[in-house]
Amino acid sequence: MNSLPLVLTVFVACAVEAVEALTIVLAAGLTREWRSTLQGMAAALVVLAAAVAVIGPALTLVPLTGLRLAVGALLAAFGLQWLRKAILRASGYKDLHDEGAIYARQVAAAQAATGGGRRGVRDWYAFTLSFKGVLLEGLEVVFIAITFGDNQGDLGVAAAAAAAAVLAVAATGIAVRAPLSRVPENTMKFAVGVMLTSFGVFWGAEGAGVSWPGNDAALLAVVPAVILVALGYVALLRRTRAAGPPPATAAVERSTV
């Protein structure tokens, strides 16, 4: 299979996660203090690197059929979650993801939190905020890069795409020193949801033993089909919403993606 879809999917997915991690790191660094924030970020990166070093090689020992079944199931479930939220956002049933607003909330919380050091860290709040943000968003990067890379037999390319995305976002963040609120995150999340769901369906079914008509070329039908269905749901929900009375407040749900 051509590695372009792999590279693009991993790059866009990882860029979205990196933008979210950057918002948290900037809020901690600019509001509290940079040294503890960078220590937290570095600690999270060490944990993530250890996860990649353990999980990556371990997955190569699993037979490809079993791997595709397990990873396909996980990706399809994970992708459905992304796609569901993206459709709810696009149709107005859920607030759009707004990095500027998230940054403002993080800054307010960081300003209100009490100071104090612990275990050799000057500002424990900045450390933990940065550590958790980078670790949680980074785990999604690791999950996507490893599952796509292992399934395609090209972990190196997936890792390179993930690293390129993280570096590009980090460099932009350092340059502008502000949350990247102009990145079209909602559109990117929609695209990632489509790709995760499509690859999950494709690999999951293959892992269950089916032979896709046209083999790998079936993805060229699966991806557009998922796009069309998702856009169809958006149109349907918009029409339903337009037919009803105006909402008092938009629906808000917990979100990890």
Binding site: A73, A76, A77, Y93, A208, V210, Y233, P247, R254
Partner: protein, 69 residues
Amino acid sequence: MSRWLRSFGAFWYDFVIGDDWRGAAVVAVALALTALLVHAASVNAWWLLPVAVIAALGWSLRRATAGKP
């Protein structure tokens, strides 16, 4: 330790399953049915998972928007 395990489990549940567990359940059942059809009945059921996923998405969206203006 048990608190740590609970939060670790809760994190992964939220990470993979998210707000609606029904989508993940439909995927799991559809994959099991697909494997059953392929291996026990020799039916190349490539269509089953896409149809199930599309239906699960619609069901989940319907539940999420039901009663909301």
